[in-house]
């Protein structure tokens, strides 16, 4: 059974249709990439999955259970973790406390186990040395890492990554991809929106292309990238 399913999900803001009849299944442990031009509705799709936005039509299912009307907090506890495109740290709290919030609420980890659990994630994401620093003053790479670490602390079965490699140098990107690969190797399913295609294609098993809110294509990355329609719309290369 699919761990996450979207069935004919649509969403409009006024006359603008930002998500148009999108359906797909995500299997347990699978990594799915999402690409598309700016304004294609990629982040909106994440917001529909996490419950930050309610769809006008269609259903969202986790493990076959309809969660369409559940608030974001309940979906986190059902196993959906997310990072934001623009990092949103709890700026007055330390890096460690950012994870502690996620572990205690979303991850439902008991108080006695939470410190060790959080420190382990901080070590894996390369943030252990800045654990006590206020998160509001971190540079971009560490903010991106914190987004990933905080999502991990909710103990997700599906983790949604929104342009987490955007703005990073190649070296920083390689480090981040290694961490994402290790999360995936442990069996966590991933949906990753990204414009850094070499990073994305080194992790995902399937690729989805969105354009004007519609799902244009879904399949293996090399097949999708070879599609003339995708190359024209996304890369601007005429067939």
């Amino acid at each position: 059974m699919a761990i996450l399913s979207l069935q004919s999900v649509s969403k409009s803001f006024g006359a603008l249709k930002v998500t148009d009849d999108v359906s797909f299944d995500l299997n347990a442990g699978e990594a799915l990439g999402i690409i598309g031009p700016n304004g294609a509705g990629k982040s909106t799709l994440f917001n529909l999955i996490t419950g930050n936005i309610q769809p006008d039509r269609g259903r969202v299912l986790i493990d076959g259970q309809d969660v369409t009307r559940l608030p974001p907090m309940d979906r986190v506890r059902a196993g959906i973790g997310r990072s934001f495109q623009i990092p949103q740290p709890f700026g007055h709290l330390s890096v460690y406390e950012n994870l502690l919030v996620a572990a205690r609420f979303g991850g439902e980890i008991p108080a006695s186990e939470a410190p060790g659990f959080c420190m382990d994630i901080l070590s894996r994401t390369g943030l252990a040395t800045v654990a006590e620093k206020p998160s509001g003053g971190l540079p971009l790479l560490q903010r991106k890492r914190l987004e990933l670490a905080r999502a991990m602390a909710t103990r997700p079965r599906v983790i949604l990554l929104d342009e987490i490699a955007g703005g990073l140098t190649d070296a920083e990107c390689v480090e981040l991809v290694a961490t994402i690969r290790s999360i995936h190797a442990e069996g966590t399913a991933i949906i990753w929106i990204e414009h850094v295609l070499h990073a994305l294609n080194s992790v995902v098993e399937r690729l989805m292309v969105l354009n004007f809110g519609r799902m244009l294509m879904i399949g293996q990355p090399d097949q999708v990238m070879a599609s003339p329609e995708v190359r024209e719309i996304y890369l601007g290369i005429e067939a």
Binding site: H92, E97, R104, T154, E186, T188
Partner: protein
């Protein structure tokens, strides 16, 4: 750091002992003065919890003072209850009033929330001024001798060998001091807990807090109700000593909210000792500038602006930054060593 902490705790214990002993050794005027300071301190600590930790900048806290005071007067005049029972009813009435107020105000954010709470408080003032049984717009007074006939006044009178009026003052002073200590301890315990951590996450970023499983509405509503209860108790207790209530006095935005905001901001918003420092500075300024009329208010305003510009975490925040000493730290420090992986990183289906 531990030495500083122990020293701080010893000093706090000594100060508290001296404060509790005050009615036995100090003149009545000083007890009354300190009662006023403690009233502002309790209000400031409640407002700090609301604005400094939950991000709910309310300008309508006078609604809870007024409701608490009027409920207490109603309990005494209309139901013939003891004033101390009336104080408790005042707190409960304020908390009950907070339920519909939250229903309205929680639909608003930021500056709109601030204005919205002010509007609700003013509506409450206008509604209360229609309550003819409690004097309508002109208000009413406590029946003569009410304070002197309060529970425990006779025992205190014998214990301290003072007049009934002084014994009543001592009782209300001790109750206000205990309320201040209670609010401080409860705030510390609450903010160190899981819920306190969630509350600070909401203050920093409500959307991100939701995405890690924190329920902002539930937590903010809880804090709103708890601070309404504390503010209502404080208002009721304050008006036992004032002995007369009018809608304008009980719902005064200047006395019960503006000064309270000033105290919290200069002391250190978002820190627990901030309101204590703020109320001490406020009292000193009041004493020093009492004879200078409007200059007093101008100086208060200038000081508030200066602190907001140059020491955004207030005087207590400045002290922490300079010395590194924090007597009531709320931070959760990470463990030094990672022994093992205590919990699975991925939950089972």
């Amino acid at each position: 750091m531990t030495l500083n902490r122990n020293l701080g705790l010893c000093l706090a214990f000594l100060a508290l002992t001296a404060l509790y002993a005050l009615p036995a050794i100090a003149p009545r005027a000083m007890v009354q003065d300190l009662f006023g300071i403690l009233t502002l301190l309790v209000l400031a600590m409640n407002w700090n919890l609301l604005a400094g930790f939950a991000g709910l900048v309310s300008v309508g806290q006078q609604a809870f003072v007024g409701i608490g005071a009027y409920a207490m007067f109603a309990a005494i005049i209309l139901a013939g209850l003891d004033p101390l029972v009336g104080v408790l009813i005042g707190g409960i009435a304020a908390a009950l009033f907070a339920v519909p107020m939250a229903f309205f105000a929680f639909r608003l954010n930021g500056a709109y929330f601030a204005i919205g709470t002010w509007v609700v408080a003013d509506i409450a003032r206008l509604a209360i001024s229609q309550w003819k049984a409690l004097g309508g717009g002109t208000g009413t007074s406590l029946p003569k001798g009410t304070a002197k006939e309060m529970a425990f006044v006779d025992q205190i009178k014998e214990l301290l060998d003072v007049s009934s009026a002084a014994a009543a003052d001592a009782l209300t002073y001790w109750l206000m001091l205990s309320l201040a200590v209670g609010v401080l301890i409860a705030s510390y315990v609450f903010l160190r807990s899981r819920m306190g951590l969630g509350l600070q996450a909401i203050r920093d970023n409500e959307n991100a807090a939701r995405s890690v499983g924190v329920d902002p509405v539930k937590l903010k509503a809880l804090v709103f109700l708890l601070t309404a209860f504390g503010t209502g108790l404080c208002g009721a207790l304050a008006f036992i000593q004032i002995t007369r209530v009018t809608p304008d006095a009980a719902f005064s935005v200047i006395d019960w909210t503006a000064f309270v905001i000033f105290i919290t901001v200069i002391g250190g918003i978002g820190t627990l000792p901030g309101p204590i420092v703020g109320v001490a500075v406020f009292y000193l300024l009041q004493r020093l500038l009492a004879d200078y009329g409007t200059i007093y208010l101008i100086v208060l305003g200038c000081l508030g602006i200066a602190v907001m510009l140059f020491a955004r975490r207030g005087l207590w925040g400045l002290f922490i930054d300079r010395t590194g000493i924090d007597l009531l730290p709320l931070t959760h420090r990470p463990p030094r060593m990672v022994a093992s992986r205590p919990a699975a990183h991925r939950r089972s289906a």
